[in-house]
Symmetry: D2
Subunit: 330 residues, 4 copies
C-alpha cells in the first residue's frame, strides 16, 4: 500500500512548477476564501465527513436539500449556504458527496449549480460513487471554467466516515493530487492516486465487483462444504491458508460464528448494505457494457444481489448472501 | 494452518486404546510386511510421490497399467506387482493415486483389485481426487474387510509432488490420522485432518471451486479495469490492499506482467491446467446437485472452464481464463 | 409429430425376424402369464397409470412400499404382490414408475428385486425419470437375464396420467418398440421412439432443460417489459408472433392474467412443480458434466430453481419463477 | 404521457377531431413539402429502406456521412441534402436509421441537426435501435419544436429491408400512429403499435433478449442431446412438438442440417449477426439496470455473446453460438 500512496512532498516557497503555479492562482483568485471548504451532500456519509473538516479547524460551508442534514452541520459548527452556487461563490475548495450520477450532474451543471459561480482555480473533489464517464464529462466542464474536478470515491462505510479512516481513490491531474490530499487526509487515512479523472471511480467499481464475486463465491462454497458435512470453522481455516483464500473468507466470513465482530455474527446488521453493493454492481455493468468487456461472474453477481434486493435482505449487510443461498428450512 | 495440522503425539507403549489396538493388529496380521508400502497409480503425480517414499527408505511395491510408469519406479529402486491384488497381498499400507472415481472403484473392487486380498488392519490412503460419496462407499467396503480407507487428496502440482511439498487433506477415522500422517508426511509438508471419510475430498473441491471463482473474477475485473484505462499493476496493487483481495489476485495474478514467476508471465505454461480445474469443478457440481446446494458462481465457473476446454487454452494454466475473456484483437 | 411416432405394423404369423422370435420366446417362457402386467411404483403418477391398465382389461399385479397406494390399486381391481421379485415371477411385462435412480437400482437389482426372478423374454418398461447412464446399466443387467429393459419416461403430469394422455419417450431395441407401445398406449396418447436404451431419458431431460430456460427467459423478459411500462398482454402478443416466441410464452405464460386456465392465473397451483423441475435439471447437469458438455443457461436455470426450492415457491408450478424474479413490494 | 404529447390549439372549424387537426396543421406548416420524405442514415438497412420509399413514388431527400451511401440513393432516384438540418428544412416527414444512441442524439440535437430547422407538425420516425430513455428524451425536445417524434425500430435484416417486409414496432402518441403507418408500410409489412414513445424500443429489446436466451438454450440443449447419442433431427422433432418448443428450435435451428435454408446450414452466413445481437443485449442490460430488474439469463446471454464477439464468430449469424459451445475437436 505504501507504494501506492504518494508521499507528501515538502512544501516549497518557489513558484517553480505548474502545480505551485496553480496553487498560487487559486490563492489569488479566491483571496480571503482559502480557508473555507465547501461541502455539498451532508447525508449518512457526507455529514460526518464534513464534521471532520470542521473539527480540523476549517471553516466549512455546507449545502444539502435536507433541512435536518443542514441542522446537523450547524450543530457541529459549520456554516450553510442556500444553493451549490452560493457554496461555489464562497469557497475555492469544494467536496461533493451525492447519491448518484444524476445528482452530481444537477449539483454541478443544474440551476443554481456550482458551475454558475465557480471561480478559476477552484478544486472540486467529488467523493460520490458514479459512472466514470460522468466524472470525465464533469471534469471537461470544470476545466472550461478554469477549475479542476477530481473524482475521489471512498471505501469504508459510515463508521469510517465518522472515524476519519476512509480510503479515497483519486482520479485527476497528478499535479493537483497533493492539494486534494491535503483536504482528503482530514477525512481519511489512505489517499490513493489512481491516474486520470474517472480512474478513482473505475478502481472503486472494479474492487467492489471483485468483492461481490468473492463474497458470493465464499458464501456458496461454505454452504456447500457445510452441507457435505464439514465444520465451517475447519473449512474456513483450510481455505484461508490455501489458494481459495480471499478477504471475504479470511476477514469478513459470511457464515455466522466463524468470526466474531463481523456482520454475519450480528444478524448481518451494519456493514455494507445489499442495496449499496447492488448499485455499485450496476455501475460496473454499465461500464462493462460501454467498454464491450465480458464480465460473466460480475454480471451474475449483479443479478443475484438484484434479486436479493426484493427480499428482506435488502437492508442487511451484503454478506447476507449466505443467508439467501442457504436452504434453511429443508 | 498450525492449528489445523494435528501435532504428532508421542508414541506410547501401552496398548490402551482403539487406535493402538488397530496398529497392533496391523503389525501382527501383516507380519514381516510392515515396512513395505504399496503404491498404485504411478503417473505424473503418483510417480514422483512413490519415488519420495522409496527415497525415505521404504520398500515400495508399485502397480500401474502403463509399462513406462512401472519402469520409472524400478529405476528409482521400487518393486513391482502384477495387479492391485498382489500389492495388497504384500503391503499393510497402500497409497492410491488414480485419475477418477471409476478408476478408484476398479482398483479397489474390480477383478484383481485390492479387496480380493487385503488383510485386516491394512491402511488404505487414496490420494485421488474423486467424488466424496465414492470415498464413503469404498470406506464401507474396506471396513468389511477389516481395513481402513482414508481419502487424502492433494493440492500442489507436479513440482510439489517431486519436491515432497504437497498438502494432503485427509478424511477418515481420527484415531488413524497419525498412522496416515506418518506415511503422507514423507510426500508432503502439510497434512491436514478434515474429519470423517470423504471430508478430504469435500475440502479439496470446496477450495478449488472458490479458487476457480476468484480466478475468473480476478481475470474479468482486471480486464474491465484495463479497458477503462487503468494500469494493471496499479489496479492489482489497490485491490490487493483492499476488500477485493484474493490469492488469485495477490499471489497468482492472471494478467501477464503483474507478477514475475507465475504462469501468466510465462505464456500460461506450467501451473494447474484448465482441464484439471474443469474436472474438479465437475466434482463440485456433482456434490452440489446431490446435496441440493445452490452454487450459482461455481456452476457458471464450471461452464466457463468447460467452454475453454474446447479451445487451445485447454492445456494451459487455469489463469489463462484472462486470455479467454480478453478481447485481444478488436 | 406424426413422423416421430412409429405406426403400428400389422402383426404377422411368420416367426421370420428377431422381434417376432423374441415375442415367441416371451409367450413360451411366460406361458399363462401373458395377460398379466406388473406395475411397481403406485404413487401420484403410477397409481392412475396402473388403474388405466386395469381398466383396459389387463390383469395387473402391483407393488409399492406404501400400503395406501396398494389399497388404491386393490380398490380399482388390481392384484398385489409382496415384493418386486414376486411381481417378476408372475408377469412377462412389467412397468416401473419410481422416484429416482437409486430406487430403480434397488427395485431391479436389490434384495427381492426384479432380477431375482425375472424370466427370459420379459419386457421391462421403466417410466421413471432417472440418469440415462443408470438406464443403460440396468439394461445390460436385464439382457444377462434374457429380458429387455426399455426406458420410457413420461411428460404430462398427474392429470395426464389419470386421463391416459401421457407422452412416453421410449429408448431401447427398435424391434421391441411395438411390444412396448402395445402396453404404453393404454396409458398415453403419444408413444415416441427415441433410439437406443437411455435415449428416452436423454430426450426428456433435454426437453425439460430447454423448457426451464425458456420459462425463466420468458419470466424475466415479461418482467423487464412491464417495468419499462409495457402492457403484458401487448408484449406477449408481439413476442408470440415474433422470434422470441416459445411454448412458455405462447401457451403457458408465467404472468398472471395473460392467459386464463394456466397455473400463473391460478396462483401458480397445479401444473409442474418447482421441485420436480429442479430434479430434472439436476439430471441434465449430471449428464452434461459426465459428457463434458457446456450448458451455461441450463446450469444457471438449475441454480435459480434450486434457490427457489428454499422458498415458499417450492411447491408451486415452475412458472412461479416470474413471482421469484418480480420485485413485488419495492 | 400527457406531457409528451404536444398540445395543438384549435385552428379551423372544419376539422372535427384531434388527429385530423394535426394532419391539417402539418400540411399548412410544411406547405409544398408534403410529398417529400427525409431519410437520414443510408447504410445497409437505411439504404434499401429509402429506395423502397423512392419506388413508392415519394420524393426522398437523403443524408448520410458516407459519400458512397449518398451515391447509391442518387442512383435509385433520390435527392440529397448536405446536413440533417437541410433535410428537416425541406421535409415534413423524416425517417432516421442510425447505428446507436449517440448518433441519434447528434443527428437531432447536434450542430446542423434536425432540431435546428424542424418545422412544427413534422413527423419524425426513428427506426434506429437505441436506449428507450434516449427516445423519450428526444421526443421531449421534438415536442418543444412542435414536432412529433416516434420510435419505430425494426425486426428483420437486410433482406427484409430490401424486400419491404420489415416489422416496425412503433411507440408514440396513438393519434399519430396512422400517419406513421402510412410511411412505414411502404417499407414493411407489419406495423405494430406498442404504446407511448420508447415502447417500440422496449418491445424490441425484450423480444431480442428472449430470442438470445432461447437461441443459446436451444444450442446447448441440442449439443447436450447429441453428445448423449441422440440424432439431432429426432431431438429437434420431439422438442418442437413438446414444451421446449421455441422459434430458435422450430424455425431457425442452430444445428447444421436440421433445417435447410437457415444460416446454420450455410456456415452461419447471413441472418442476424452476433455483434448486432450483442448490441441489443447491451441495451437490454442497460434498461434492466436502470429499471432495477433482475434478468439472470438475459445477462448471462449478453456475456456469452460478448465473449463470442472476440472470436471469429463475431461476424457470423447469432445461431453460431452452437458452434461456440460445441466441443468440436476433443
Amino acid at each position: 500500500m505504501a507504494t501506492l500512496i504518494r508521499s507528501i512532498s515538502a512544501v516549497t516557497h518557489q513558484i517553480s512548477h505548474k502545480s505551485s503555479m496553480r496553487n498560487f492562482i487559486r490563492k489569488c483568485s479566491a483571496a480571503g476564501s482559502q480557508d473555507k471548504v465547501g461541502f455539498i451532500g451532508l447525508g449518512n456519509m457526507g455529514g460526518p465527513m464534513a464534521a471532520n473538516l470542521v473539527n480540523s479547524g476549517h471553516s466549512v460551508v455546507g449545502y444539502d436539500i435536507n433541512p435536518e442534514a443542514i441542522e446537523r452541520l450547524r450543530d457541529v459548527g459549520g456554516h450553510v449556504a442556500p444553493t451549490p452556487a452560493d457554496v461555489a461563490a464562497e469557497c475555492s475548495r469544494i467536496v461533493t458527496m451525492l447519491p448518484n450520477s444524476q445528482h452530481v450532474k444537477n449539483c454541478y451543471s443544474g440551476d443554481h449549480g456550482i458551475f454558475e459561480t465557480v471561480k478559476p482555480g477552484t478544486l472540486l473533489l467529488d467523493s460520490s460513487t458514479i459512472d466514470p464517464s460522468v466524472s470525465k464529462d464533469v471534469a471537461v466542464l470544470a476545466s472550461k471554467k478554469g477549475a479542476t474536478y477530481m473524482d475521489s470515491p471512498v471505501s469504508g462505510g459510515v463508521n469510517a466516515a465518522k472515524g476519519g479512516t476512509l480510503t479515497f481513490m483519486v482520479g485527476g491531474p497528478e499535479q493537483e493530487f497533493e492539494a486534494a490530499k491535503t483536504i482528503l487526509s482530514l477525512m481519511g487515512k489512505n489517499i490513493v492516486y489512481c491516474g486520470g479523472v474517472g480512474n478513482g471511480q473505475s478502481v472503486k467499481i472494479c474492487n467492489n465487483m471483485l468483492l461481490a464475486i468473492t463474497m458470493i463465491g465464499t458464501a456458496e462454497t461454505m454452504n456447500l462444504g457445510m452441507r457435505l458435512g464439514l465444520d465451517p470453522k475447519l473449512l474456513a481455516g483450510i481455505i484461508n491458508s490455501s489458494s481459495g483464500r480471499c478477504w471475504a473468507s479470511d476477514t469478513y466470513n459470511p457464515v455466522p460464528g466463524v468470526f466474531d465482530h463481523v456482520p454475519s455474527s450480528n444478524d448481518y446488521q451494519g456493514g455494507f448494505g445489499t442495496a449499496l453493493m447492488t448499485k455499485d454492481l450496476g455501475l460496473a455493468q454499465d461500464a462493462a457494457t460501454k467498454s464491450l468487456t465480458p464480465t460473466p461472474l460480475g454480471s451474475l453477481s449483479h443479478q443475484i444481489y438484484r434479486i436479493m434486493c426484493a427480499t428482506e435482505l435488502s437492508g442487511k449487510d451484503f454478506s447476507s448472501v449466505f443467508q439467501f443461498l442457504k436452504d434453511n428450512d429443508k
